[in-house]
Amino acid sequence: MSDDFTDLEHELQQLRPRAVPAPLVGRVAKDLAEPPRRRGILAEWRTWILPAAAAAVLAVTVTSIPFIVREGAITQETVAARAPSDSAGTASPSAQAARLHPVRATNVLYDAVDEGIVYLDADTPAQRMRLSYLDTITWENPRGGESLQWTVPREEIFFVPVTAN
């Protein structure tokens, strides 16, 4: 089949999309007549409070891991000191867990959305960007080879000041 669509293109171009209905013009007029909503950054709390809370929990968890692991390791050392004949294979579950060490933390940016203009204060427009990540933390037992992987979604919202020419 020929790929020359000139005639069909010409015929399609003759079709005129429907006109803008008068009520729509009226609604736009009403919107433009109203002063723009000046939404401050604090008014946007609903959009950032959950991601911020999730990020905070994640940060606390990640920074706590070395302490948790260290605590477990001390316990294991203590147990080993008290019972030298106790082999690694019969260690308690907490001691097993303590052998996992965080070895890798990665984040993958999988979506970036430009959410349009907002006002940081009365006269400061800014472009609001929302970035979505997947954070993955991996623990491994350097001796036994067991590993544990934890993946959580995370969002970041930031504002880029806009200047008009």
Partner: protein, 180 residues
């Protein structure tokens, strides 16, 4: 005003300062509405999307650097996606009522009495998959290049061009098919 005028920032600023927004909306609104209609479930939704995008554009974005038309197309698409997310919570009853509404024509009736052909063309376009329809609408009525279409749809220009060729071939096949 031709679409090229929109891509010329200086000319657009000059014209918008001297022309009311109503004239601009009446001239370019029809193809934006047609575009919005590809991403929404009803004519009313398409109007809401264009209203939202146009007001934002006129207030905040028309003096930004770059192509105002591309910005507006992106804005319309984003507003349609946002609306789609909100509307996904519609009840089954509302959906059924919407499905029962008569489909509103996308194009003006032909004055030369050849409205049957217009109806056939429109029906063939409506029958295309959305990914092909949106490219056809952007290319034919919004006069966008494949590069611009690719940027707007987050796909390579070659993909946009392929979809366009598939769509045109499907339209020709449908329009040349014997009447069932």
């Amino acid at each position: 005003m031709h679409r090229d005028d929109l891509n010329d920032g200086s000319r657009m600023e000059e014209s918008s300062d001297h022309e009311p927004w109503t004239q601009w909306l009446r001239q370019h609104g029809p193809r934006l509405l047609l575009l919005a209609r590809q991403w929404t479930r009803s004519a009313a939704d398409a109007e809401d999307v264009v209203q939202d995008a146009f007001v934002r554009f006129w207030r905040h974005q028309r003096k930004l650097p770059g192509s105002p038309f591309a910005l507006l197309v992106t804005s319309v698409r984003r507003a349609a996606i946002d609306l789609g997310r909100r509307e996904s919570r519609r009840t089954a009853r509302e959906e059924a009522a919407l499905a029962g509404e008569p489909a509103e024509a996308w194009f003006e009736p032909e004055m030369d009495g050849n409205d049957e052909r217009r109806a056939a063309l429109e029906a063939a376009i409506r029958a295309l998959p959305e990914a092909q329809r949106e490219v056809i609408v952007m290319k034919i009525w919004n006069e966008m290049t494949f590069e611009e279409i690719g940027r707007a749809l987050d796909c390579p220009a070659n993909t946009a061009a392929s979809r366009y060729r598939y769509a045109m071939a499907a339209l020709r096949r449908e329009l040349n098919a014997p009447v069932r």
